[in-house]
Point group: D2
């Protein structure tokens, strides 16, 4: 059960609800969202027994939630959530989000050139890794702080909001405000202290599914972020581990359908990690949009063969442009759009200063 308070509800009204709940022996947690406080009562499922609490002053509604996750659930919020990455760029609306860029930031030349190329081809945001989670301690670990600096230059040059991964709370606290979207990678999906820190940042969070996580576990991880007061979460399917050797992972589009049903959060798909094979990125990207994904996260590099990581699954800007063109009719076939004109997406650098995004409601149909 979640008790949704009115936008203007006073602290006293909230406290009174808590007092009543305590009297009923119920534990609760107050989560302040931009549009008002929510009182989450985890111990109570979808029973109507407490509907009467709607009569308390300041209470807007009592939402019955049967699932193990609450604020992320479709039961809590029927409408699709739309997360804005910049004044021009939203994820979860009718427009398909195309987040593109290299696996890792390698140099100013590389990231700026790629940023401009993907912006011209139709990307709505730039991805690039500064802190890389590498299986081997002896592999290139990313440029770290310098990588963040180069991403900011690429943002200035391309006008695209920037998405980058953080591996620990310390670097997230140091550099989180320098970027537009905080990515939590598959290996960190159950790094609970990091999820809390991402929640407290208030920034949009791109949360990737772990390679062995169920849809429910992904939503429970998202709940850590929402329960910290941050509803700006974008879920990302990026492939699960299977026995099949011809792909790096098994991109699981079933879960896109499951997540869209069970949650109001936007869902994007990463066909690059999902398949691990550049020539399978196009067919699976089309499939992702056709089955309801709100966007794509695609690895693009000006020179894939020279990439320091993930070369085999990375496409070049020309291939990305072809992909965007192939995606347009598919998006239209399922009632979505991909904007052709760059100007409609890209902001002028000035607009970014001190940007803080917000969540609004999107009513389909």
């Amino acid at each position: 059960m979640v008790i949704v308070m009115q936008r203007g509800a006073s602290i006293l009204e909230t406290k009174e609800v808590l007092r009543q709940l305590a009297g009923l022996g119920l534990e609760a947690r107050v989560v302040d969202f931009p549009d008002g406080p929510n009182i989450v009562v985890p111990g109570v499922g979808a029973t109507t027994a407490y509907k009467c609490l709607e009569e308390l002053p300041g209470v807007k509604e009592v939402r019955l939630v049967s699932s193990s996750f609450k604020l992320s659930s479709r039961e809590f919020k029927e409408q699709n959530s739309v997360v804005s990455l910049s004044p021009q760029v939203e994820v979860g609306g009718s427009e398909i989000a195309l987040i593109a860029g290299p696996c890792a930031v390698e140099s100013e030349e590389q990231i700026v050139a790629t940023a401009k190329a993907v912006a011209a081809a139709g990307a709505t945001a730039l991805r690039g890794g500064a802190f890389k989670p590498r299986t081997s301690v002896y592999s290139f670990q990313g440029l770290g702080e310098e990588g963040i600096r180069l991403l900011r230059i690429a943002r200035e040059e391309s006008g695209l909001p920037i998405v980058t991964e953080f591996l620990d709370c310390e670097s997230l606290e140091l550099f989180g405000d320098d970027v537009d979207v905080i990515q939590i990678g598959a290996r960190s999906m159950q790094n609970f202290p990091l999820l809390r820190a991402a929640g407290e940042s208030g920034k949009p969070v791109l949360l990737k599914r772990a390679m062995m996580a169920t849809a429910e576990e992904l939503l429970q991880s998202a709940e850590y972020i929402l329960a910290a007061g941050n509803p700006r979460v974008i879920l990302c399917e990026r492939g699960i581990r299977s026995f099949e050797p011809s792909t790096r992972n098994c991109l699981d589009l079933n879960t896109v359908a499951v997540l869209k049903e069970k949650s109001h959060l936007p869902v994007i798909v990463d066909p690059s990690h999902g398949t691990g094979v550049a020539r399978y990125v196009a067919p699976l990207s089309k499939a992702a949009i056709a089955c309801g994904a709100d966007g794509l996260l695609v690895e693009v590099h000006v020179d894939p063969q020279a990439a320091l990581s993930d070369a085999a699954q990375t496409i070049n800007p020309a291939q990305f442009q072809n992909l965007v063109e192939e995606l347009m009719p598919v998006a239209q076939a399922v009632g979505r759009q991909i904007s052709a004109s760059e100007s409609s997406r890209v902001a002028s650098p000035a607009q970014f200063s001190g940007l803080r995004g917000s969540v609004r409601f999107f009513f389909p149909g």
Copy 2:
């Protein structure tokens, strides 16, 4: 390596090639296809060492094949194969095949009503189980021979070619000629005697991927059918087993892209078994077509809730009609079509008498 003989090649010419191969210490197998004999030399990979054999009389071409499967490979045959189920219905061409029907044939009324309804909605073939592979010995095992008889009535009434599964060589030999397409189910994908019998039948064979089979294993199973002289094989992805509890299986669309790359055989997708959830059939069907599948195998029942098996994953005719309408723009978006008019697909019963299909080549673009 596969040595493709000319259509009119004489037996003596073929024997001479075998003699030469024997002289080189190479074992070979002659496979007669409708368009001429092929000499498969499994022990030889993609080496050009034997290209000179092209100079022998009657030899059309020496195809270099590196993969473990030969006749099923794209290296053996570049063009997509098109398998005809009836004079009107083909799988693998520009038209999307829609094979629909109940999990099991239950009664004349049920199968005829479903057949007419799916034909009206746009189905190109009728599926229905007479011999059911049931996990429990105590579950309904299908109507057997009587089920075949009812399928033939449904074919007469609807004009749709019929697809049904066989579980053993004996029933396949008894009843295979009574149906248009022989289905080999996921549990039988590595039933090698059954694959040989399906090959010898000369009928179109719908071969489903086992729930734990790799793409290569599926193609090696298809090779059993082709190596018996039958090139009329349709591959079917139907979901692999994973750890995810919210779906019955994990429909694996990655493998559609893999199969279309590695093989010339048509590939269809079964979203009903693939997800096990009726409300996920539509999004995954769109995804399947978007990523290049040549058709769908969908469980449709006039009254899903009353179905004796697979109720949870079965849709009704009205839902199937909506699905077909939603699929049309997706098919167009990837350069395929779904015919609206029934007459263009459905044959008059007479046309079926003694039908034997054939394989022809389809040149895309």
Copy 3:
């Protein structure tokens, strides 16, 4: 629910029980076991509602069975079943069964030499494939009928009962009586017509778990055999498919514990296919015995490197002898034995003529 009839129960008494069940609207199936008929009522779970039927003449007991499998369940029969392969060899008693031999029968010399060697080293039965299920149609498919003939010679020479796999009903009916144990391989675990034929044969059946079957599905497949009147089933864990590349399969010993809890049937383990690596056979064999397995199925070849199949996972007779010696203290540590002396296990050929095994009850402790 299973209604166990007294050994001497008359047909009339059985029919009366069926009449009463029909009156209650319950479907039932009569299964005749060597120790009397059982009336299986699948539609009834573990309710005590029908305990009163115990008062009917000829009824010995009403067993409440909650699981989806009935005759295979521990609820139906508390005591471990012991299956005898020959007058000297039992599986499921206090003695650990050691079934050893090559993947495939290749020649008289190979199979006889291996049979004598494993008999001398402590094997209790000989395994060898005549009909081989091969992923590739171009691989060695086994010697077929000739392989059966050679196995019979090896039995004469070594005195060991012989275990071999059948792939279809036809060959099982032709040659089943020539061998002591019918093996149903992992790929055939859900070949239901073959399971029925194995049940009707009345011979001991070694049923291997499919590489992605649950414990419950394995027991439901065993139920096909028992429901045909044949309680002489030995279950075999042989590894499931996983994502781990350093072994061929993932030998799943958890399932040994699960099967021993849920079923009275003997359970053996195949560490050769389970790991696919000869040097892992010894540690996993010890683990299998330590966690309660009733025996092992081990691939042994006089010259593993020369084996026509499964060379990488096959050990030689000397390694097998070391394994048996290492296993003895492990078996003792869990209250089981491995007989040192050959004479105690091996029969003289004459004793085999017309052998038909039987099931008796084994009371542990």
Copy 4:
């Protein structure tokens, strides 16, 4: 390749080796172990080309290492490593380590009572969670700092070294020195900043395999710890995720054999998380010891049913005592021991002050 320097090698000698490597265009990393510096050259596999470097002053040996992990590999160090948790307790020697305790520290009474009970029953160390990684943000998250304080009391009372999990670098740096062994849980196996921090702590580290990690990925994660100068790593198999519903995870003992072959590090097994079912803990514990595990990590609670987490997989002290007694003969059967007498394991509190463990070499046989 790893260049092992002599214990007393001077900094100048080490620098000279690096200079020579730089001259050869090879990157290297110096890792100081308690017994001397090692120069890891990741880019070089098992080639003998650089054996000549053994002639440089201060160089003890050039080890050829083909695997992706270097310092963790058996190629780098042939002898089993033995990690000491306290002056009395070692893991990796002939004595089997038994680490037991509750999933979570709940209260002083609970942890002290459990500690004393498991010590009396034969445990060699106490496990207990203070910082709990919980899938749901609404579940009990552990007592945190207070939990560490209670573990220290339990150590004083029981004399057992304490093992506890850390989820982030910050708490590890704050409290790592308060415990004897730092546990890195399955969900953190690829939390690379945390692995580095555990390496820098110099404390013994118990590293659990992630539920979908390969053996090689586990060893690559261990390499992060060793490459930070800390060779005191204990690997732990705790079950992988599979499709089988009758157990929580699939305890994978194959990997114990793989790890013991490929690495010199001690390997223990967690049958509690591995199976998720209390009644399967005993058979799988025996199997783990039989296949070569160096110890067990077992969840024991004075009152399992009252446990705040993992109740279903937790055994009570009496069951643990029975388990230890059943394990003794199994350990002996594979040439290991489990000490009966408590005094031989348990230290007096005083001995712990300022303890820093060390690594020594153990020569089997």
